[in-house]
């Protein structure tokens, strides 16, 4: 069973986004973090100091662990940003500044 079933959800057709160049399916109504979780991805940032992987921690926009680069904009909180068709999501390295 997946969590859509008990809520009898009928989301719209999946669309494609890319994560580090890899195409993934995503749906309207999800955040970037939710889309990545659905695809089994749990890490999309490496820390500035020691390059350790991070993903969602607080889930509500408080901890900033889930920072990610979306369409060349670094430092976006994946748990807050809605996912859109064609989004180009990239792992954020360090401060993300190298992306612009």
């Amino acid at each position: 069973m997946n969590p859509l079933e008990p809520a009898r959800a009928r989301p719209g057709k999946a669309f494609t986004i890319t994560f580090d160049g890899r195409p993934l399916g995503a749906r309207s109504g999800q955040t970037v973090a939710a889309a990545l979780w659905t695809a089994g991805v749990t890490a999309w940032r490496s820390t500035r100091g020691t390059g350790r992987p991070r993903g969602v921690f607080c889930g509500i926009g408080v901890c900033f662990d889930c920072l990610v680069t979306v369409n060349d904009r670094p430092n976006q909180r994946a748990c807050l940003v809605p996912v859109r068709p064609g989004d180009v999501i990239r792992t954020q390295e360090g401060t993300g500044r190298e992306h612009g």
């Binding site: 008990p6 989301p11 109504g29 659905t38 749990t42 992987p53 969602v56 921690f57 607080c58 889930g59």
Partner: protein, 467 residues
Amino acid sequence: MAEQPHLTVVGAGPAGLAGALAAAERGVRVTLVDAAGRPGGQFFRQPDPALGADRKQTPHHEWRVWKRLRDGLDRHRATGRITHLTDHHVWCAERDPGSTEITVYALAGATQEEGVTVRSDAVLLATGGYERVLPFPGWTLPGVVTAGGAQAMLKGSLVLPGRKIVVAGTGPLLLPVAAGLASAGAQVAALVESASPRALLRRAPVLAAQPGKLAEGAGYAARLLRHGVRVLPRHTVVEAHGTGRLTAVTVASLDRRGRVRPGGAHRIACDTLAVGHGMLPHTDLADTLGCTLSGTDVRVDSEQRTDVPGVWAAGEATGIGGAALALAEGHIAGRSIAARLHGNAPDPCQWAAAARARKRLRTFSAALDSVYAPPPGWTDRVADDTVVCRCEEVTAGDVRTAAGSLGGSDLRTLKLLTRAGMGWCQGRMCAPAVAGLSGCAFTPGRRPFARPVPLGVLATPPGQRLD
């Protein structure tokens, strides 16, 4: 004061909604500002409409109460009595010098770069709270999430963080989280609660005075049983294992004093750990406005007024106590605001029922607090190389050195010495741990802004951004 007084409510959770409705029904024009795309806050968080959920009540509680709030909000929005600004992140609030008005500054738009200003005669701070997680080795691994965060992602986006989940920590939130995850199809490998059932029994008289709350707890317990979830009371997670992502946790049993029992540890394979050690209130906006805090909470009087004129506060911001308490406090605040803005002294008899509920629920949550305190020996189990400040990657060893040989004895000094609390989250995640490890008092950080603000917005004079 204008013909029709104007109130800004920050936060559209149970407290903010109850306050906005009570005030609007009494002739106040309300602007309700919330960072989320939909009303409801944490407790009444909804799946995004685009997910087409037919049975929204499935990951949901108290559907009838929610319907009443939502219908009230819709009604007042239709008449223009309430304006709801969704996706608006408030980063600062201030009293205008030389007038009684209060200005709230928000960031709007998908990238939160557009500044929006709202001026009004009063403000109700109903900003809720966030989860406290105390560090342990491995807690920064992907796959380790806060219990409330897992719940929020499930309720809002109908997603699960993994397949096999351990729910751990302490506090009443763990029960609904474990039950919610199990009902949504996750395998909940264990619910690990450090409090002891005996401590609950000792508080039985106070707890029994809240039959509704007990029934709610029993309901979750029954669901856990039905899903075959193993409950491990008086246990704690001592380590999360994995490289790159979580693969297992080690849990240990605790003795009566809350210390790990020698030989009482075992490993549980899992891909997710949902963990929490209680909640902390959001007090940044109250702090910038100059409201006095009491410990970690915004201090309010019997009308939910802070000590700054024109500023009220309700819900978790004034102390953690759950959604029912937030509703009662919000209702009282809304009625008090309406009376005061119309120039009348309010009559507390008119909110006697809400005041009784508030008293009962505060007593109840104080009893819960004493049961669900983090186990006393938790700092001993944080190894020196464990990261404590997740943003700046400051370790427990760094904090211990700063507090020991460098003599840091308050959170501000420790922050300057170690950078713990200087990063993106501004110490929201690490401050309780830094305080615990260094033995200094836990005081909520004074943050210049409640949210990160783009320089462009700061550079624009506020007067140019009127709503």
